[in-house]
């Protein structure tokens, strides 16, 4: 085990800003991409429904 306490874990031996800055940004970007993917799918389905409804 590398960490004596949760505080140790968040401190990352003094490199907390760099390590957590890396992981947090990656997490935010992936969550954002998943949200954008879902929005695009919903928009495509709505547009298709309107298109076929108008025929």
């Amino acid at each position: 085990m590398n960490w004596g306490s949760w505080n140790d874990f968040w401190m990352m031996g003094g490199y907390g800003l760099y390590v957590w800055g890396s992981y947090a940004t990656t997490l935010v970007l992936i969550v954002a991409e998943i949200a954008l993917l879902r929005m695009r799918r919903r928009a495509a389905q709505d547009a298709l429904r309107q298109y076929t409804g108008a025929q």
């Binding site: 085990m1 031996g13 298709l48």
Partner: protein
């Protein structure tokens, strides 16, 4: 029409080149790739933080490697896959190939940005600089601009067929940058370190560190496949709205 090509198992590979057969297949595959990605990510993160030991030179800052290297690998790999499908699309004029190129670009750009961002956050405590204009960093930045350029070019052309062809040419021309990124640490004197993992020599890192990195790389790979399949399904819906199969599909959806 393309001649049907039969594999040994009797599977017609060109069957899945048609959007109407690919669309439901992709839909079935997405949950699998998503769950495998999530499971690998959980295992990878556990190894990265709780199994892999502290580095005796860099302390805990080295733990950035578990996203930095997988992201950098994926940034290059996705571009090569894009260039491959661009080549297939230009040669055989297959709609789905071009859609796949478009579907991969945003995810490739995401991984490129992550590689650069985590590199900066690793460079600061290790080299004392967020950024240096060395060959590895500069060529990776060029890769980010290639992804953005591809997306801007496609967004800027209204006719999808012309947008496909222009994008495919850009993707193919830009692929020369990938070996430049990969070999930059050999060809030039870079501040960026050389490869720790290569196919020709034993890796120069602890086994648990290497395992964590490889599991995270697999997770990133599975995620990229799931994201690209999801996006290509939306692109199919956007582009094929005039065809009969998709009208039946829309009619069957609540």
């Amino acid at each position: 029409m393309t001649q049907p090509v039969l594999l040994a198992g009797g599977v017609n590979v060109f069957k899945y080149a048609a959007p109407q057969t690919f669309y439901p297949l992709a839909g079935k595959l997405i949950p699998w790739f998503s769950w495998i990605a999530a499971a690998l990510c959980a295992v990878g993160l556990y190894i990265s933080f709780f199994v892999a030991p502290t580095d005796h030179q860099q302390g805990e800052s080295y733990r950035i490697i578990f996203i930095h290297v997988p992201a950098a690998w994926m940034s290059m790999f996705i571009y090569v896959v894009m260039a491959f499908w661009a080549g297939v699309g230009l040669t055989f004029n297959t709609r789905l190939s071009h859609m796949m190129v478009s579907a991969l670009a945003p995810t490739g750009a995401l991984f490129t940005f992550v590689a650069l961002w985590t590199g900066a956050l690793w460079g600061k405590p290790t080299w004392g600089a967020w950024w240096v204009w060395d060959a590895r960093l500069t060529s990776e930045l060029v890769l980010l601009f290639l992804y953005f350029g591809f997306m801007a070019l496609q967004a800027g052309i209204d006719d999808p067929r012309r947008a496909d062809r222009a994008g495919a040419v850009l993707a193919l021309v830009g692929v020369v940058n990938v070996p430049i990124i990969y070999f930059s640490v050999k060809w030039w004197n870079t501040l960026h370190q050389g490869a720790s993992v290569s196919v020709t020599s034993a890796p120069t890192m602890a086994t648990t560190m290497l395992t964590g990195m490889l599991v995270m790389a697999l997770a990133a790979w599975m995620y990229a496949i799931a994201a690209a399949l999801h996006r290509v399904r939306s692109i199919i819906l956007e582009r094929e709205h005039g065809s009969e199969w998709i009208r039946n599909y829309a009619g069957s959806q609540p």
